[in-house]
């Protein structure tokens, strides 16, 4: 079996635009995944911290929501970035998944894993759960489409009442566990992908990924759990100032 000769490098072989060939390459698509993942991940952290204000009561939380709305540039900037990120992230994930499935059409009868983690092997599934969650979540708490008693602007009410009934809180819990898996592998995988690795700090990568994942997951889980256990309740009187958006 002879190795087929490659065309001789002529110095002119790069006919496609460098950016296009980067996006087509395996590493390029990985990097897209990592950078968009980083954006999403950053958003999730900030979002969780913002949402913590729910424990300060309806006034604080709603005021925070208002404050955000008073900065439309920021709000829409972030929304745009998120949308682009999700789209690119999902595109990259789908494309890489295809490549990887094609790379081994015939599998093994027996397989034993040694180093890979449950999280790393289930990225596709945790990712899909997250995608479904995001769609649901937007319809639920942003547009209110699937919310039983959505009140535009009363974020506190929307969350607390939205997480009280039926399968919604359960789905939130499941999604947050998926988020935990996705983030744990994602965070340090991302560092590896963009080349952040040094023998001296590699251990820190794990610790960092575990810590940040734990913070986000615990924080996020606390909301549905607090509602379900009655820790968070709607205030007796609903005479809270409702600032409608300008």
């Amino acid at each position: 079996m002879s190795a087929t000769a490659l065309p001789a490098p002529t110095g002119k072989e790069q006919t496609t635009h460098p950016a296009a060939s980067f996006l087509a390459s395996s590493i390029g698509r990985k990097v897209v995944m990592a950078l968009t993942g980083l954006v999403l991940f950053g958003y999730v952290v900030v979002h969780m911290l913002g949402n913590l204000q729910i424990y300060l009561g309806p006034a604080a939380l709603n005021a925070y929501a208002v404050k955000l709305r008073e900065m439309p540039a920021l709000l829409w900037g972030v929304r745009g970035l998120l949308l682009v990120s999700v789209v690119l992230h999902v595109w990259a994930a789908a494309s890489l998944t295809r490549t990887n499935m094609d790379a081994r059409a015939v599998g093994y009868r027996r397989r034993r894993n040694r180093e890979s983690s449950y999280a790393s092997r289930t990225m596709r599934w945790s990712g899909v759960i997250l995608l479904l969650f995001i769609v649901y979540h937007l319809l639920h708490l942003t547009f209110g489409t699937v919310h039983p008693s959505f009140v535009d602007g009363d974020v506190y009410h929307n969350v607390v009442s939205g997480l009280q009934v039926g399968v919604a809180p359960l789905f939130y819990v499941v999604a947050m566990l998926a988020l935990g898996l996705h983030m744990f592998h994602g965070v340090w995988s991302l560092m590896q992908t963009v080349g952040l690795s040094h023998p001296r700090y590699d251990r820190l990568r794990y610790a960092f990924a575990a810590f940040i994942t734990a913070v986000v997951v615990i924080g996020n889980l606390s909301f549905p759990l607090a509602v379900m256990t009655g820790l968070l309740k709607e205030p007796a009187s609903r005479k809270v100032a409702i600032h409608t958006a300008p």
Binding site: M1, S2, P9
Partner: protein, 637 residues
């Protein structure tokens, strides 16, 4: 047959320079009109194929493995010599030359060895430039160690993987040329015949090992770099696929076979554990720098080694060779081990082993220093034997490791067939009757990078070659012969497996033509081998077909050749009535058991000419002269 060495005249240190100037050059525009066939992709093959392609020739390169990177050169652990004198310890080209001639027990050609020593320096430069990760000192300079009986530190190394790293350097240079379209690489192709047209080597016939297709390949010159034939002993440190087929076919087409009996036995291999054993594993000789070799003083002492007190141990090398001690050359160390085992003092199962003990070194230097130096070797030993060499001494025993014999070549590395060049271990190399450690890699690379690219050009420039195509009668005849042989092997339908024949041949060879040889034994081997060969062709069982990957068929072809070559090895050993280097004839030894050379009668190369089926081969002689290194009895006392 005439053996013309074609050594240029003039003082030895000027010969190569002078010759390089006098050799004819091929016009650059004509180079791409020439196709050169390189068989083998080890250090010699890969380096020559890459260098020839860089010069502009079209190269077709062949190997039997699935990738050229897997040639057996990859297994070399210890290192590569070069007269760089980076350590400022008095090394020089002349000293390396001197050591190599002396180490070879005065059975090599001075001019070739001198050139080898000269080129050694360029090899290191070349390999460093290619990115071979040689060991370095903290200051960033190349590190050296002393190796295999040398008294200067001239061995360059890359952990325990020197051969691998050098080969990867050459392989990468080769692949670069493959990428540039200058080398057409054919892996999983086995050369099964040489094609000679009008007395010149013009091509080869191969078998595609996946499809079974028999293919002719035409060229203007052929380079054989197919390695050594040590697998004639069955148990050896060679790769399982290493074979003599290429050189044996060339021999049968008219290339003289020189000094076949010069085979080297390496003293530090892991002993055989049982019948099932398929190969022997070498432990790097560098272990002898710190390990002490001993056996119990008493016969049949089966106490575990730590329970044998020092005074009841026989550190026999230190006792017999006080100045070199455990670092005596390979042949001396191997024979000494055989002697103590034959006396019944061997250790381990079967009594074929001696201890290599690191206890003193660990006490002196600490376990971590020893671990750093030899950690990977210790690990490898433990993996194979399940014994921890930090705690119990290693057991070692000699095994066949290198073949100094091979196809005869002149100063230009051309065989007796014009146009057929032979390089690396496949030729009767520059090592005489014994090769020093770390000098085979040196020779393979010197031949491939720096000698054959010039001398082959000289051949092409000074030869008028008629155009020849694969439809030439000589090609058709060779193809038919190959096909017929394959068919014959598949048609025997006997009862015995190929391996069983190989094993049996190996036993005969090891017993009668191994570390020590004598007339009676050799004669008995010369009786047994033809019988075995006859039985092989009558009773071998090769299943399957030609048109598929058929590993039994591949093995059968190789074993058939070993069954012929083995006989020539014994014949050569019988005719060489002296002891020298790796060839120890029991009849010719000094009273204290050392080898006794006979320079009067045997200061020559014996080159055998094939005389046809069933006829005894003809022994020719190339006399050796020693102007610069005067033969003395080697003494390592």
């Amino acid at each position: 047959m005439e053996l013309r060495a074609n050594v240029p005249d003039g003082p030895i240190e000027k010969k190569w320079d002078k010759h390089r100037f006098e050799m004819k050059l091929v016009n650059p525009a004509n180079k791409r009109k020439h196709t050169i066939i390189v068989v083998g992709s080890g250090l010699a093959g890969a380096s020559s194929a890459a260098s020839l392609a860089e010069l502009g020739y079209n190269v077709k390169c062949f190997c039997y493995q699935d990738s050229p990177r897997r040639a057996h050169s990859i297994a070399a652990q210890g290192g590569i010599n070069a007269a760089k004198n980076y350590q400022n310890d008095g090394d020089s080209v002349f000293r390396l030359f001197y050591d190599t001639v002396k180490g070879g027990d005065y059975r090599s050609r001075e001019a070739n060895v001198y050139r080898l020593a000269q080129l050694s320096v360029n090899i290191i430069d070349q390999c460093v430039a290619q990115g071979v990760p040689f060991a370095r000192e903290y200051g960033g300079m190349l590190a050296n160690r002393s190796f295999g009986g040398a008294q200067v530190s001239r061995t360059f190394y890359a952990r325990g993987q020197t051969g691998q790293q050098l080969l990867l350097g050459a392989y990468q240079a080769l692949e670069r040329q493959v990428g540039l379209g200058k080398v057409d690489m054919h892996s999983r192709h086995e050369m099964l015949d040489l094609v000679v047209v009008d007395g010149r080597a013009r091509g080869i016939v191969t078998r595609d090992m996946v499809t079974g297709e028999v293919e002719p390949h035409v060229g203007d010159a052929v380079v054989l770099a197919t390695g050594g034939y040590g697998n004639v002993f069955y148990l050896a440190t060679y790769a399982k696929g290493a074979n003599a087929t290429a050189i044996w076919r060339a021999y049968k087409r008219g290339a003289a076979f020189a000094n076949p009996c010069f085979t080297q036995i390496h003293p530090t291999c892991i002993p055989v554990t049982g019948e099932h054993q398929s190969k022997l594993t070498l432990m790097s000789e560098s272990l002898r720098n710190d390990g002490r070799i001993w056996v119990p003083r008493k016969k049949g002492d089966t106490r575990p080694p730590p329970q044998i007190p020092d005074e009841e141990r026989d550190y026999y090398l230190e006792r017999q060779y006080p100045s070199f001690g455990n670092l005596v050359p390979r042949d001396v160390a191997s024979r000494a081990a055989k002697r103590v085992c034959d006396e019944g003092r061997g250790v381990g199962p079967g009594g074929y082993g001696v201890y290599l003990d690191f206890a003193d070194a660990i006490r002196r230097l600490g376990e971590s220093v020893i671990g750093e130096k030899y950690g990977n070797l210790f690990e490898m030993y433990e993996r194979i034997t399940a014994e921890n060499p930090y705690r119990v001494p290693m057991r070692i025993y000699p095994a066949t490791h290198y073949t100094m014999g091979g196809l005869w070549v002149d100063y230009n590395l051309m065989s007796t067939i014009p146009g057929l060049h032979v390089i690396g271990e496949a030729n009767f190399s520059d090592h005489g009757a014994n090769r020093l450690g770390a000098s085979a890699l040196m020779q393979g690379l010197a031949d491939g990078y720096f000698v054959v690219p010039y001398t082959l050009g000289h051949y092409l420039a000074s030869t008028k070659l008629e155009p020849v195509g694969p439809d030439h009668a000589a090609f058709e005849e060779a193809e038919a012969a190959v096909a017929a042989r394959v068919e014959k092997l598949l048609g025997v339908h006997g009862t015995r497996s190929v391996d069983s024949f190989h094993r049996e041949l190996g036993k005969i060879m090891w017993e009668h033509c191994g570390m020590a040889r004598n007339e009676g034994g050799l004669k008995s081997a010369l009786g047994k081998i033809p019988d075995l060969r006859e039985e092989f062709w009558r009773d071998v069982k090769v299943l399957g077909e030609n048109e598929e990957l058929n590993q039994s068929l591949e093995k059968a072809g190789r074993v058939a050749d070993f069954l012929e070559l083995g006989e020539l090895v014994c014949l050569d050993a019988l005719e060489r009535r002296e002891s020298c280097g790796g060839h120890f004839r029991e009849e010719f030894q000094t009273p204290d058991g050392e080898a006794r050379r006979d320079d009067e009668r045997f200061s020559h190369v014996a080159a055998w000419e094939y005389a046809g089926e069933g006829r005894p081969p003809v022994r020719h002689v190339e006399p050796l002269g020693f102007e610069y290194v005067h033969p003395t009895q080697r003494s390592y006392k």
